[in-house]
Amino acid sequence: MHLLPAHTKIAALLCFVLVVVATPAQATWAFAVYAALLVVAVRASGVPFGYMGRRMVVEVPFVLFAVLMPFVAAGPRVHWGPLSLSEPGLLGARGLLVKGTLGVVASLLLASTTEPSDVVAGLDRLRLPHQLVEIMSFMVRYLEVVTGELARMKVARESRGFRPRSLGSWPVLASTAGALFIRSYERGERIHLAMVSRGYTGRLPVAHPLSASVAQWRLAATVPAAALVTFLVAVSR
């Protein structure tokens, strides 16, 4: 799976997520099939389950939101011990959790089998507007530079005895953020100069167009195709 061209994987992910989202929440067994498909795909990719599990923390905000839904949603209520829960809220929460988890696992699978720079190249191949793709490719590259800068500023602060404890430390943190912004901005300008010096005219050259064979497309399509069949069966019943 690591070897599939990035754009086939992105297309597969997109189709899979669309199918999952479109599936009515009552079709429990369909979600079970989707989950099984993902398990097989993760297995086949060789990404350790533990690694995927740890990266699932990105889902925490969704989970919190889902947990809140039954309390705050309107509609008929069910009573469960001392709690009064909204019935549509419960259903909605379940749907959100199930669909969210499937989407997150599928995206993580893409993320763990593809270099960020390849994801960007894949998006370009899928004809995303090139300005967007360029912004993203710089973000990927410069995240490292900016976080490095931030880390150095933190070290510099703390070497001079700063402890971000009390409210009094807020102005310091705010000015750090300001300095980081200015530094990043100026760096951006210098980078632009360096690019222009090497003949940049506003469009990144595509030196190696990505291409995928029919077999590779077919392989990438297996999971979403299986999901689509499941979906069709679920809605036609």
Partner: protein, 249 residues
């Protein structure tokens, strides 16, 4: 006599905020020369460099590269001929892999396929970084990034290589390795530097810029032993280095 590779005449420039950085600079560099551009902080060296490939537009005076005036309609060719290596390699390296970064310049010139690959391979070879072609630049050491930055410019096969403080932040071994690389290239070099022993080692000729004017231009050794000149323009030899006793390179 042939056109100088670099021909700067009466160049003056003021930044948009009104600060005048250059007051009529004249500089000629001939084919195959290696020239050091010396001068204290704030002398206008970087400002001068930014005129050589048309990033800044002269307020007065002209810049010509092998006979081609630096004007908006010639910028593409000028930037092919003049390769600028900036001081901070993090500014120069902005692509996800070393290969993509080295390709960037020649691909902008329209090269593709085998010729593009040849440029990548040969320029990385010349700086001894062939083994790193698929690595992301931000995982390399500073010295390695500096060398890749040089390769990104060599890949455009420039007529003149302009280096802004090439030896800054390098450890002594990397500094010497870079010197070996620069010496091995058969291109014309203009090197901005505060590292006077480095200038002495690599460049037979030096030009001193101070407060936006050229105040000296001659054999590097003669410039460095002129105590009055050096003192007047805030140039100091590092402790223990005396060009009078060091054998000529």
């Amino acid at each position: 006599m042939t056109d100088p590779v670099l021909d700067v005449r009466g160049l003056a420039y003021a930044y948009p905020d009104g600060h005048q950085a250059l007051f009529g600079v004249d500089l000629h560099v001939h084919h195959g020369e290696r020239v050091a551009l010396l001068g204290p902080n704030g002398a206008g060296k970087t400002t001068l460099v930014l005129h050589l490939n048309g990033i800044l537009t002269p307020g007065a005076g002209t810049v010509e590269v092998s006979g081609l005036p630096v004007r908006p309609e010639n910028l593409r060719e000028v930037r092919r001929r003049v390769g600028v290596v900036f001081q901070d390699p993090d500014d120069q390296l902005f692509m996800p892999t070393v290969r993509a970064d080295v390709e960037f310049g020649p691909a902008n010139l329209g090269l593709r396929g085998a010729e593009l690959e040849r440029r990548v391979v040969s320029s990385l070879e010349r700086v001894g970084m062939s083994d790193y072609v698929d690595r992301p630049p931000h995982h390399l050491s500073f010295g390695q990034r500096r060398r890749v930055a040089v390769a990104t410019v060599l890949a455009m096969e420039p007529e003149i290589l302009v280096l802004d403080e090439p030896s800054s932040n390098l450890d002594p071994a990397s500094r010497r390795e870079l010197a070996d690389i620069i010496r091995s290239l058969d291109v014309t070099v203009l090197m901005v530097t505060h590292d006077l022993p480095y200038a002495y080692e690599l460049c037979p000729r030096s030009v001193v810029l101070s407060d936006g004017v050229v105040v000296a231009d001659g054999p590097t050794r003669e410039v460095l032993v002129d105590d009055a000149l050096m003192k007047a323009h805030r140039l100091e030899l590092p402790f223990g280095f005396d060009p009078r006793t060091v054998p000529a390179p």
